[in-house]
Symmetry: C2
Subunit: 199 residues, 2 copies
DNA sequence: CGATGTATTTGACGCTGTGTCAAAAACATG
DNA sequence: CATGTTTTTGACACAGCGTCAAATACATCG
């Protein structure tokens, strides 16, 4: 066995950074190979294809992101938790200069588009998975809040609504890039779901 | 002057159909040229580039779609109007086999991704424009409903919320493709914004 | 310590797709 | 019928994805 000459995880991080900033379409394997100091062929050998590389880089990111979301949802009153959730979400896809957008939404739309390619099903699955896990986190938070009397309603429906709004915010961010307006929409959503009273 | 040998609008329709079904990335100008019975070079001469062709085809579609939305929003009680709005929205991006998704959201994410290309700014502008016009239509409908005592709240904020949800639905459609669930989210949103009482 | 085997690296190749260009063709106009 | 303008046409250059065989480097075993 000949050992790898590069660090697997570091290449994934470099690749995801490129993909996030320039999109899947706007990133060539030559770009990644140059930035990572690796031959293009080695990337194919190690990861299979451009989309497979993106997916692996994405899933690596997704775990980190989920952990951060879980932390944001874990402290304070229910309203504080949901507010922190929206804050992290918006801050995440307004990060970078220029803002890089939501990698999940962007990836889903870029890769999930072409049907019947086989790997695209894996891609869709990966994105659907993250969204489902986020929804579950929010739902658990709402259920716990309901048990403490901070929420009165259908936790599943409310969680789905909240996550739908965050996906919509990811789209509006691309269209307008008006961060204050995004935060207004988030605040309005919280009021709608939790009621307008403070706390 | 030598006259065109093809029908400008028909090519736009053929092109948009391809783009909608297979995505911008998944559609080559050779595909469109073949389907339209036109040489590839003629497309470049007439439309400039692939993205420019997509944009022109998109804007042609957008006018038709806006007209349909306006019609859906124009009859019945406020609740009926907003319900018709969501119905048309979901039906639109569940149309085709397999469902083609929301062309605005897909186009925005596919083209708006690569920054600093110049034409991409035009693309973003076109999508942002449609979203803004849809929001205005919904807001007008809500304002009119408020005047008739059917709605009590901030029409601008509510319209923005509703449109944000439709963008989120477009994303969830790609992720899960579960149409009944999409319609549930829509119904839940209507209840949140208009209140749970019938009418 | 040297031989063997296995996985990685490397560079060249084929293919598809975008976009450009100059020459040929077709028609409107005078 | 001659002229000029625009479209058409086919060839070309270029970038990017993916593949392959040969070369390479190392672990392992005798």
């Amino acid at each position: 066995m000949r050992p790898r000459e590069f660090d697997h995880d570091e290449v994934l991080r470099i690749a995801f950074d490129q993909f996030w900033r320039n999109g899947v379409r706007g990133t060539s394997l030559s770009d990644i190979a140059r930035d990572a100091g690796v031959q293009r062929g080695s990337l194919y050998n190690a990861f299979g294809s451009k989309e497979a590389l993106f997916l692996q880089a994405y899933e690596r990111y997704a775990e980190d992101y989920l952990a951060a979301l879980q932390k944001a949802l874990g402290a304070g009153s229910l309203r504080k938790r949901i507010t922190a959730f929206f804050d992290l979400t918006i801050t995440n896809f307004r990060s970078g200069t220029p803002p890089r957008g939501c990698p999940t939404t962007r990836g889903l739309m870029e890769l999930g588009a072409a049907e019947g390619e086989g790997l695209d099903d894996d891609a869709r699955q990966a994105f659907a998975n993250l969204i489902a896990r986020i929804t579950a986190l929010v739902q658990d938070t709402l259920s716990a809040g309901a048990a403490r009397g901070e929420f009165d309603g259908n936790a599943a429906a409310a969680a789905l609504h909240i996550v739908t709004v965050t996906r919509g915010l990811a789209v509006l961010e691309r269209a307008f890039g008006d961060e204050p307006q995004l935060r207004k929409i988030a605040a309005h959503t919280i009021d709608l779901v939790l009621g307008k009273k403070g706390g």
